[in-house]
């Protein structure tokens, strides 16, 4: 499933006369696509035009970046971005390291309790840390890590989804490669690093994209655990900024909204195919 033909049409029947079926399907697809894009198009419209054009749609309305500069100076977004960047980086590194080691154990070692422990790992797919906010809050308090960036990441560092995904990938790697390396005297960790990790790079990429976008967008847990500008990620920062009653114009809020989702959106536009494929790869199996 790595070939590029993945997203190409699977059927190429030659068109007969006028194809009503095709026509109405195209019409439907386009209408729905327009409907789906509407909120985003609208946000872009208001963000790039003066407040007077919030609800007036004129083709030659003056374009401005003022809303962005207003939003940028009204709240410490630079700091929020830095926090989010640190957060997703910490989580990603921890997930890769912990997930790789655990997946390797499940995929290639035989030890008592492995079946039971794997069930416990899978349990996290259902009972996510997202819903255990009350007890995890107490736990973070006990650890004395309240209002830190690490605390936002801690519950997500061991990811059942990540372990599962990597284990599946490692299992597809032929054992012969493993044994060949061992004959040459490589220890288990060297084999992991030299054989398994390089061959699983597409999975790491897919999982990395899913993880980054998920934690960039996460809101509830960071909201609970953070309490200062130095730790707040952009999602929480944005909600505080937008919640100031009445004081902020729509166009400025929309500019801030676009700003916070901007990096992800641009990354998505640039790597659209990889993004879609990553999500697919991460989802099936």
């Amino acid at each position: 499933m790595s070939d590029l033909s993945l997203l190409e049409p699977t059927q190429t029947a030659p068109p007969r006369q006028f194809d009503y079926d095709r026509f109405f399907n195209s019409l439907g697809a386009w209408t729905l696509a327009l409907l789906w894009a509407l909120p985003l198009l609208y946000a872009i419209w208001t963000a790039f035009h003066p407040a007077a054009y919030e609800a007036r749609f004129e083709l030659f309305a003056p374009v401005t970046l003022e809303n962005f500069s207003k939003a940028w100076s009204a709240a410490p977004f630079a700091r929020y971005f830095l926090n989010t960047f640190m957060l997703v980086t910490i989580i990603l590194i921890a997930q890769f390291v912990l997930g790789t080691l655990a997946a390797y154990a499940f995929a290639r070692f035989e030890f008592p309790g492995s079946g039971f422990l794997f069930t416990l790992v899978l349990l996290q797919l259902l009972v996510m840390p997202d819903i255990l906010i009350v007890e995890n809050y107490k736990m973070i308090g006990t650890l004395g890590l309240m209002d830190t960036i690490v605390a936002i990441g801690l519950p997500y560092m061991a990811s059942g989804f990540g372990i599962f995904l990597l284990r599946q990938t490692f299992k597809t790697i032929p054992k012969e490669l493993d044994e060949a390396a061992r004959v040459e005297g490589a220890g288990p960790l060297t084999v992991l690093w030299k054989v398994y990790v390089p061959l699983a790079i597409p999975t790491y990429l897919a999982y990395g994209l899913v993880s980054v976008s998920h934690h960039w967008n996460n809101f509830l847990w960071p909201l609970i655990i953070t309490n200062s500008v130095e730790t707040r990620p952009v999602t929480v920062g944005l909600s505080i900024f937008a919640a100031v009653d009445g004081g902020v114009e729509w166009s400025v809020i929309n500019a801030a909204t676009l700003m916070t989702s901007g990096p992800l959106l641009i990354a998505f536009l640039l790597f659209q195919r990889q993004f879609v494929q990553s999500f697919m790869r991460a989802g099936i199996k």
Partner: protein
């Protein structure tokens, strides 16, 4: 490698991940259940065992029932709708279509945006008088302005629309992957037999997509209990809890009223619902060897 070495390596490799998993998933899940039988400690007064009192409070709490019913309606409406739309999207995008990548981008874009951010955009759509929906209603149909998020009847529906919009593109990806795994020869054979597109879909495509549909529905169910970000930005659960969902209520009880024991009791209800889903998943899914 000796058997003993296999054991030691296995356990050592697993330790870091398992410690973290236990600390932030299994242990809190267990303490949640334990704490639901205790009172909330306040200041000098420590928590003490109260038996089922929290559960009695739960049963007689009208807000709990309202929120639970909201969440069930919310799940019941958003899950089939987002799955149906996502399937339609996948079929369209999989087909030969002019501007296909643009269409696909439009469908998928909501997935990568933060829910809390897009909620701000949707807020504007729903603004009475000024918002886009009211502008169309007033301008084209001459109807009076309407407070969509301010009315008990419409507020939950408004939230549902945002959710469907956000999720359909995500589910589309899974259907797209599944559609591309269907051999083209099936379609060729059906064409030779003269089967209509409609018949082909119901007789061939839809049954073949069944495992994907189940996988997607489980995801949709979990998300319908897990994602409440848009409530924070749009309504704060109001008016009169009409748009509040279970997790949002847990948040309010725990971090607004600081009744952590009662919040734990509510979380137990959540865990029970998810367990029922897990058991359901186990029975439906075991045909397709998912975890092997």
């Amino acid at each position: 490698m000796t058997k003993r070495m296999q054991w030691i390596y296995g356990w050592l490799l697993l330790t870091p991940a398992m410690v973290m998993l236990f600390a932030f998933t299994h242990f809190p899940a267990i303490t949640t259940i334990i704490n639901s039988f205790f009172s909330t400690s306040r200041g000098r007064r420590p928590a003490k065992f109260v038996g089922l009192r929290n559960y009695e409070e739960l049963i007689s709490d009208p807000t709990f029932w309202k929120v639970l019913v909201n969440n069930l309606w919310y799940a019941l409406a958003t899950i089939p709708a987002s799955i149906g739309i996502s399937l339609l999207m996948a079929i369209w995008v999989n087909d030969k279509l002019k501007g296909r990548s643009l269409v696909r981008m439009s469908f998928f874009a909501p997935t990568v945006l933060p829910l809390i951010a897009v909620a701000n955009i949707w807020m504007f759509f729903y603004t009475p008088g000024f918002g886009l929906i009211d502008q169309i209603r007033m301008g084209v149909f001459g109807l009076p302005e309407n407070s969509w998020l301010g009315s008990q009847e419409t507020v939950l529906i408004c939230m549902m629309i945002v959710t469907i919009w956000k999720e359909a593109g995500f589910f589309m990806i899974f259907y797209l992957a599944a559609l591309q795994a269907i051999p083209p020869s099936y379609k060729e054979a059906a064409d030779i037999e003269g089967a209509s597109r409609w018949a082909f879909f119901w007789k061939i495509t839809f049954p073949l997509l069944m495992p994907t549909t189940l996988f997607v529905s489980i995801n949709a169910v979990i998300n319908s209990f897990r994602l409440v970000d848009h409530i924070f930005a749009m309504t704060g659960g109001g008016p009169d809890n009409a748009s509040s969902l279970l997790l949002f209520y847990i948040y309010e009880v725990a971090f607004k009223y600081w009744q952590t024991s009662y919040a734990a009791t509510l979380t137990v209800v959540m865990l029970a619902i998810l367990s029922i889903i897990a058991i359901g998943q186990f029975f439906f899914m075991d045909r397709r060897v998912h975890y092997k």
